[in-house]
C-alpha cells in the first residue's frame, strides 16, 4: 500500500519560560493509506504534539512531515489551512464542537468554510449524522447531547469533507469505557468501509491493541512498533 503520511526525524520542543522542554526528539515512521494506526504512550510522551504536527496545526523544529505527497514544511499557513480543510479530519478529546451551533450546523461548518452551497452542505452533513446514528439529534446543540453523541457529531464533522486522514486525539479520553468502545468500533467500521486512514492517539492499551499497528511513544521517541496479527493474517 502507498504511503499517505511520512514522519522524518521530527523534533519539537516547547519553550516554557527560559527552558526549552523537548516534546519530540527525532521521530520517524510511515503511515500507509487505509491503515488504522494507534499512537500509544503515557501522558507527556509527545503524542498530542505529534498529532498536531501531522495535522499541520503546528510546525516541527527540525525534520519533515509529508502528507499525501506535500511536505508540510514548505507550505504557507494558508495552504496548510486548505490542507486541513480538504485532506484531514480532526477528532478531539473534548469534542470541540461550537456550542452555539446545532449538531447539523457543526457538521456543516467545514463545508461552509470550503464554500459549499448551504443546501448541498446541509444534505451532506445530514447524511453523515445518519451514518453516525444521530438522525434524531440533528437539531440539538452540543449541550443537549451526551458525551458519546457529541463525539459522534465531532466524527461526522471530521468526515464531512471526505478527508484522506482522520486524526483523533484521545477520542475516548472523555467518555466512559462502553461509549469509548462504541466510538472506536465506529471508527474501525468507517476505516474498513471507506478506506480512510485513521490515526488515533490513546493511552488506553486496550484501544491501542485493536489497531492495525501500534506505535509506542515514550519521552519523545518511538520506543516500539507493534503490528497487529489480525490484519496481517
Amino acid at each position: 500500500m502507498a504511503k499517505i503520511l511520512e514522519v522524518r526525524e521530527v523534533q519539537k520542543s516547547y519553550q516554557i519560560g527560559k527552558i526549552a522542554v523537548p516534546a519530540l526528539r527525532g521521530v520517524s515512521f510511515d503511515v500507509k493509506e487505509g491503515e488504522f494506526l494507534a499512537i500509544f504512550g503515557p501522558s507527556g510522551s509527545g503524542k498530542s504534539t505529534l498529532l498536531h504536527l501531522m495535522g499541520g496545526l503546528d510546525r516541527p523544529d527540525t525534520g519533515e512531515i509529508i502528507v499525501d505527497g506535500d511536505n508540510l514544511q514548505k507550505l504557507s499557513d494558508d495552504v496548510l489551512a486548505e490542507l486541513r480543510l480538504r485532506k484531514i479530519g480532526f477528532v478531539f478529546q473534548f469534542f470541540n464542537l461550537l456550542p452555539r451551533l446545532t449538531a447539523l450546523r457543526n457538521v456543516e461548518l467545514p463545508l461552509t468554510i470550503a464554500g459549499v452551497p448551504e443546501r448541498q452542505g446541509l444534505e451532506k452533513a445530514a447524511s453523515l449524522l445518519k451514518l453516525m446514528g444521530l438522525e434524531a439529534r440533528m437539531d440539538h446543540r452540543p449541550s443537549e447531547l451526551s458525551g458519546g453523541e457529541q463525539q459522534r457529531v465531532a466524527m461526522a464533522r471530521a468526515l464531512v469533507n471526505s478527508p484522506k486522514i482522520v486524526l483523533a486525539d484521545e477520542p475516548t479520553g472523555n467518555l466512559d469505557t462502553k461509549t469509548g468502545w462504541e466510538i472506536v468500533q465506529l471508527m474501525q467500521r468507517l476505516n474498513k468501509e471507506k478506506g480512510q486512514t485513521f490515526i488515533i492517539i490513546t493511552h488506553d492499551p486496550h484501544i491501542a491493541e485493536t489497531a492495525d499497528r501500534m506505535i509506542f511513544l515514550k519521552d519523545g521517541l518511538v520506543e516500539a512498533v507493534k503490528e497487529a496479527p489480525r490484519r496481517n493474517a
Partner: protein
C-alpha cells in the same frame, strides 16, 4: 468561504451576545446621532441666516460709489452712468444723487424728519426695489411728473403721534447754506411703507425727489450713487468687476458687492459647522474604542472557538473577516439607527429653538425687518452628510475592530485549542 456566510455567522455571534452588542452599538448610535443632528441643524441654521440676510441686503443689488470711504466721495458724470447701464450682467441700473445740505419744510414751515434727500428716476428705482418703494399712501409718480416728492415713512412723523405731512401737501426744499436762498416747492405724491433697516440704508428717513429737480438745484447734472441690479446673483463679483472696468480710472470707484459679504458669513458658518461636527466625531471615536474593547474581550472568550475553526481549515483571513464583519455590522446598524435618531432629534431641537427665539423676539421692541417673521430653523436633510456619516461609522468600527480581529486571526491553533 463566502462573504454572505461569514456575515450570517457574525450576525449569529452578535445575537448570541445581545446586551453586549446593543450597548456597543449604542455608542455608535450616539456618535452618528450627534453628527447627523448637528449637520442637519447647522445646515438649517445656515440657510435661515442666509435667507434673513438676503431679505435685509438685497443681494442682487450692487452699490457703486465714486471714490472710496477713505478718499472721500466724488461724483458720476451722466456718460459714466450710461456706460454702467451697458455692463453685461446688469439687469437694471438706477443712479441716485443724494443732496448735501438740504432741508425739507412742511406747509407750516416745520422741518421734516428726512435725513437724506435723493434725486432719482422714480419709476426706475421703484422697479428695482419694488418692496422698498411700496407706497403706503398715494402712488409713485410717473416719469413725467416733475414737481413731486416721495417720502419715507418716518420722514413724515415728528414722533409716533405727531404727523408732519400728508399726501397732496406741498413741501419746500431748501438747498445750500443758510439763508437757504435756493428753494423749490414740491407736492407729496406718496408716503412709503415702513421698510426698516436694510443693507443699503434705512429708506424710512429718506425723501425722493425727481433727478431733474436736483440738477436744477445744484445747477449740475451729476450723480453720486449708482445701484446696479444683477441678473444672476451668483455672478455679482463678476458684474462688479465689469462695472469697475467701464470707468477711466477703476480705482476711482468702489463697488459694494453684498454677496461677497454673504459669502464671508457663509464661510464663517461653515467653519463653525465643521468645528461642531469634529466635536461630534469625537463621540464616534469613543464608540470605536468601545468596539475595540468589547471585541478584544470577545476574542479572548472565543479563543477556543477560533482554534476549532482554524483546526478544521479556516484560514487566518477568514477568521479576520469574521470579526471585521461583526464590527462592520455594528457600524452599519448603529449608523442606520443614528441617522434616524439624528434627524429626529434635529427636528425636535429646531422646533424648540424656533419657539424659544420667537418668544424672545416678540418681547423686544426694536426695529425689525418689514415683517418680524417667526424665525424658523428647518433641519436640512443632506444626502452628502448622511453618506459621509454612515461611511464614517463603518470605517471607525472596522478600523477599531481591526486590532482585535487581527489578534483573533493570528492565534496559534494549538494554543487556542488548549485554551480553557
Amino acid at each position: 468561504m463566502k462573504m454572505s456566510r461569514i456575515i450570517s455567522i457574525a450576525w449569529g455571534n452578535m445575537k448570541q451576545r445581545r446586551l453586549r452588542t446593543s450597548l456597543t452599538t449604542l455608542g455608535v448610535v450616539i456618535g452618528i446621532t450627534a453628527i447627523i443632528g448637528l449637520a442637519s441643524l447647522g445646515e438649517g441654521f445656515r440657510l435661515e441666516i442666509r435667507n434673513r440676510m438676503q431679505q435685509g441686503f438685497e443681494l442682487d443689488i450692487l452699490i457703486v460709489i465714486p471714490g472710496s470711504f477713505t478718499t472721500g466721495l466724488g461724483e458720476f458724470e451722466p456718460q459714466e452712468v450710461s456706460r454702467v447701464r451697458n455692463v453685461s450682467g446688469a439687469a437694471s441700473v438706477a443712479p441716485l444723487m443724494t443732496l448735501p445740505r438740504t432741508r425739507l419744510l412742511n406747509e407750516e414751515g416745520e422741518p421734516l424728519n428726512a435725513l437724506t434727500v435723493a434725486g432719482v428716476n422714480f419709476q426706475e428705482l421703484a422697479q428695482m426695489l419694488p418692496e422698498r418703494l411700496a407706497p403706503l399712501e398715494g402712488s409713485i409718480p410717473s416719469a413725467g411728473e416733475n414737481n413731486t416728492i416721495v417720502l419715507g415713512y418716518k420722514a413724515c412723523f415728528l414722533n409716533e403721534s405727531t404727523r408732519l405731512v400728508n399726501v397732496g401737501d406741498n413741501v419746500t426744499v431748501q438747498f445750500g447754506a443758510a439763508p437757504y436762498n435756493v428753494t423749490k416747492e414740491l407736492k407729496v405724491a406718496a408716503i412709503l411703507e415702513k421698510s426698516g433697516t436694510s443693507g443699503i440704508t434705512n429708506f424710512d428717513y429718506w425723501a425722493f425727489i425727481p433727478a431733474n429737480t436736483t440738477f436744477s438745484l445744484m445747477k449740475r447734472e451729476v450723480y453720486n450713487i449708482i445701484l446696479v441690479k444683477v441678473s444672476d446673483v451668483e455672478e455679482s463679483e463678476e458684474v462688479g468687476r465689469n462695472v469697475e472696468a467701464v470707468f477711466d480710472n477703476p480705482y476711482s470707484v468702489s463697488v459694494l458687492v453684498p454677496l461677497a459679504f454673504m459669502r464671508q458669513v457663509d464661510r464663517i458658518l461653515n467653519i463653525v459647522q465643521i468645528f461642531l461636527m469634529s466635536i461630534a466625531s469625537i463621540s464616534l471615536l469613543v464608540a470605536g474604542i468601545g468596539i475595540m474593547n468589547i471585541m478584544t474581550v470577545s476574542v479572548m472568550e472565543r479563543t477556543r472557538e477560533i482554534g476549532i475553526l482554524k483546526a478544521i481549515g479556516a484560514k487566518s483571513r477568514t477568521v479576520l473577516t469574521m470579526f471585521l464583519a461583526e464590527a462592520m455590522l455594528i457600524g452599519l446598524i448603529g449608523g442606520l439607527i443614528g441617522m434616524l435618531t439624528g434627524y429626529g432629534i434635529s427636528y425636535g431641537f429646531a422646533y424648540g429653538l424656533s419657539n424659544l427665539i420667537q418668544s424672545q423676539q416678540s418681547s423686544e421692541v426694536a426695529y425689525r425687518t418689514q415683517n418680524p417673521e417667526r424665525l424658523s430653523i428647518n433641519p436640512v436633510f443632506s444626502p452628502e452628510w448622511t453618506v459621509i456619516a454612515f461611511v464614517f461609522a463603518i470605517v471607525v468600527c472596522v478600523v477599531f475592530g481591526l486590532y482585535p480581529a487581527r489578534k483573533a486571526a493570528k492565534l496559534d491553533p494549538v494554543n487556542a485549542l488548549r485554551y480553557e
